[in-house]
Amino acid sequence: MRELLFHIIAFKNLPLGVVGGAAIWIILLPLANFVLLGLGKKYLKNIARIFSTVLLFVATIIALNIAYHYFFIDGKVNGVYQTINVYQMHWLSFTETMHVEIGIQLDALSVMMLVVVTFISLMVHLFSLGYMKGEERYCNYFSYLGLFTFSMLGLVVATNLLQLYMCWELVGISSYLLIGFYFQKPSAVAAAKKAFIVTRFADLGLLIGILILSFNTNSFNFQTIIQTLTNTQSSSFISITASSFLGMSTLTWALVLIFIGGAGKSAMLPLHIWLPDAMEGPTPVSALIHAATMVVAGVFLVAKLFAVFAINVTALQLVAFVGIASALFAAIIACTQTDIKRVLAYSTMSQIGYMMFALGVSKYGGEEGLGYSAALFHLFTHAFFKSLLFLCAGAVIHLVHSNEMKDMGGLKKLMPITHIAFLIACLAIAGVPPFAGFFSKEEILSAAYQNNKTIYIIALITSAITAFYMFRLYFSIFWNKPHDSRLTAHHSEGTLTMKLPLIILMVCAATVGFIPFSEFLSSNNQPYHSAINIGFSILPVLLGLGGILLAGILYFKQNNKADKITNSFQVIYKAAYRKFYIDELYLFITKKIIFNCIGKPAAWFDRNIIDGCMNGIASVASFISTSIKNIQSGKVQHYTLYFFAGVAVLLMAVLYVWS
C-alpha cells in the first residue's frame, strides 16, 4: 500500500518498469470495487458511491502518471516507443511452445487507452453520484460500473489474444448487466438481450479468427504474432498466405473474422442493431459505452493488430468500406430520429465508422500511417466530446423526464452550463476549429484523400450531415420554442457533482485537439510530425458550417419548414426514420427463415425423435416393471421360495455343466 502511494505521489524520474508496475493497480482497483460492492452490499450501502469514485480516482491518477512517464520520460528508446511487458503470469500451457499468459503490456496505444478509459469512467462515476441518486439498486449500479471499467482496462493491456478475448466477453456481460439495469422494463430486458446476442454472435467470428491466427503462428502473444507474420520469410507467413479457402487466403479469413468480432462490438454495419436499443440503460452508462468502453473495443482490436492488417489489402479494404458505409448510413438515420439518445447513438456509430475507415485507408509506418494515428486521435477526442454529449443529454433528461425532442426546447436559460457544454461538444463533433473534433477529423480526411478519393468524398458528405444532425439536436433542445412552463428555475441542473464532469469534459473537448497526437502514437511507434494544411481544411469546415446553418434555419425557431421538407422526401424520410428496415430485415431473417427452416425442424426432431427415444425407453421400462411388480408380494415366504428355487436352478445348471 505504501509503495502504491509512493507510485502515485512521486512524479519523479523513476524507471518505467517501476511506474509501469503500478499499472496492475489500475486494473485491480475497479475489480476490487466490483467484488467488494457486489459482495458487501449490506455493509457498504451508504458509502458505495464515494467508495467506488475514490477507487477510480486513484486509478485515474495512476494512469495519468504512467502516461506521463511513458510519453515524456522513458517510454521512448532511440526514437521508438517501446512495448513493455510490466507484468506477466504463466497461465495455460497447451504445448511446449504454445502457452497463454495473463499480463500487462504497455505500448503507446494501451497507455493512451488506459488514460481514456479511467478518465471517462471517473467522469461517469462523478455524474452518476447525482444522476442515480435515490435509485434502489444504487450499489449494484456502481459495482457493475466497476466490472465494466475493469474488463475494458483488462482488454486494453492484454498481452495476448486469449486474454483480450476473455476481457472482451467480460465487456459484453457487463454491458448486458448495465443495459438491462432497469430490468422491470420489458424494453430494457429486450435491449440487453439484443446487445448480448448480437455481440456474442460477432464474437464467434473473433474466436475463430483468433484460433486460426494462433494455430498458424503457434502463439497467442501479440508481439510474437506480429513478428512472425510481418516477416515474409517465415514459414508461418508462407503457410498462412499460401493456403486458401473459397478464394481467400487463410490470413485474410482470419483477419476478416477478427474484424467481424470488432465490428460487432463497435456496432458497424450490419451488426449495429444493438446500439440504438442499448439506450435503454441509464444515461451515464450510455456515455461510458459510447465514449470509452465497448464500442471503441473494435477499433482498438484492429489498431492492435494493425501491423498484420497492413500486410493484407483485402482485409484492410473491408475495414475501410464497412467503416465508411456505417458512417454515412448512421448519419442519415440520425437526421430523422426524435429520441435524443438515439440521435447520439447513431452519431457514435457514425464516428466509429470514421475511425474504422481511417484505419482502413492507412498504411504501415511513418507518414504513410497517418490514417492510423488519425483514427486513434479521433478515438481520443471522440471519447471526450461524446461522453460530454451523453452526460449533457443525461442532465436534460434528468430535468425534463423525457427522451423525446418535442418535449424539450428553450432550455438554455434553465441550464446554462449544460447549454454551453452541449454547444462546445456539438462544435467539436461537427469539426469546427479550434475544437477537438476538428483536428482529428482533418487528419482522417487527409488520410482518406491520399488513399481513396471515393471514401474521401463520402466522408466529406458525412461530416456535413453530422454537423446538421448535431445542431438539429442542439437547437431543438435549447432553442426552438419557449420551455415548458411547468419547468421553473427550481428545476436546476442538478448537484455540483453533475456539473463538475460537464465542466471538466467541456474544457477537454475544447482543448485536446491541440495535442500533437502523431508525435505520440503512430503505426510503427515512431513518432512523426503531421501538420494541418489550412488550404485542405477549408472545404470540410465550410461544409460543416453549411450543415450548422441549415439546422439553424430549420430548427432555431419553431416553424414548419422542417415538416415541409420531410413531406417532400416522404419515402426517404420514412425509410431513414425506420432505420432503413434493418431491424425488420433481421426479424424477418430470424423469425421467418431461421425459425421456420432451422428452428422448427430442430424442434420437431427434438420433440419427436429425441424425446420419442427417451419416452420409448421409459415406457418399456415401466411396462416391464408393472408386469413383474406382482412378484413383490411382500410375503417373506415367497421370497424364500424364490431364493431356494434360484439355488436349485443354479445347482442343476452347475451339475449339468460339470457332467
Binding site: 413383490q632 408380494s633 411382500g634 410375503k635 417373506v636 415366504q637 424364500t640 421360495l641 431356494f644
Partner: protein, 121 residues
C-alpha cells in the same frame, strides 16, 4: 443336539466299508433335517416356528460338516471349527430374529408373516 454330536463322533476306527455305511446314514439324516426345516419355513405362518425351522436347516449343515470331517479327514479340525462358527452365528441370528419379531409384534400386534406385507410398498 449333544447326544446327536456324541453319537456321530462315536463312530471310531471303523473299516472303510462300515465308514461309508455310517456316513450314508448321517447324510440321510442331515438331508431329512434340512428338508424338514425347509418345509417348515415355507408352510408355517408363525415366525417363531419359521425361526426354528431355520435352526433345523443350520444344524443339518453342522451335521454334514462334522461327519465329513470325521470320516474323510480325521486328522484335520476344519469341519469342526466350521460347525462351531455356525453355532455361534446361529445364536446371533436367533437374537436378531427374535428382536425383529418382538418389534413386529409391537407394531402389528401379530407375529403372523401374512399380516406383515409392508415390504412391497
Amino acid at each position: 443336539m449333544i447326544e446327536l454330536l456324541f453319537h456321530i463322533t462315536a463312530f471310531k476306527s471303523l473299516p472303510l466299508g462300515e465308514v461309508g455305511g455310517a456316513l450314508t446314514h448321517i447324510i440321510i439324516l442331515s438331508t431329512a433335517l434340512f428338508f424338514i426345516g425347509m418345509y417348515g419355513l415355507f408352510t408355517r405362518r408363525n415366525m417363531i416356528t419359521m425361526l426354528m425351522s431355520i435352526e433345523l436347516m443350520l444344524n443339518s449343515v453342522n451335521i454334514n460338516f462334522v461327519a465329513f470331517n470325521k470320516y474323510l479327514y480325521p486328522d484335520k479340525m476344519d469341519g469342526i471349527f466350521f460347525s462351531i462358527f455356525i453355532i455361534a452365528i446361529a445364536a446371533a441370528e436367533a437374537a436378531v430374529a427374535i428382536a425383529i419379531i418382538i418389534n413386529l409384534y409391537r407394531t402389528h400386534k401379530s407375529i403372523d408373516v401374512d399380516d406383515v406385507t409392508d415390504l412391497k410398498q
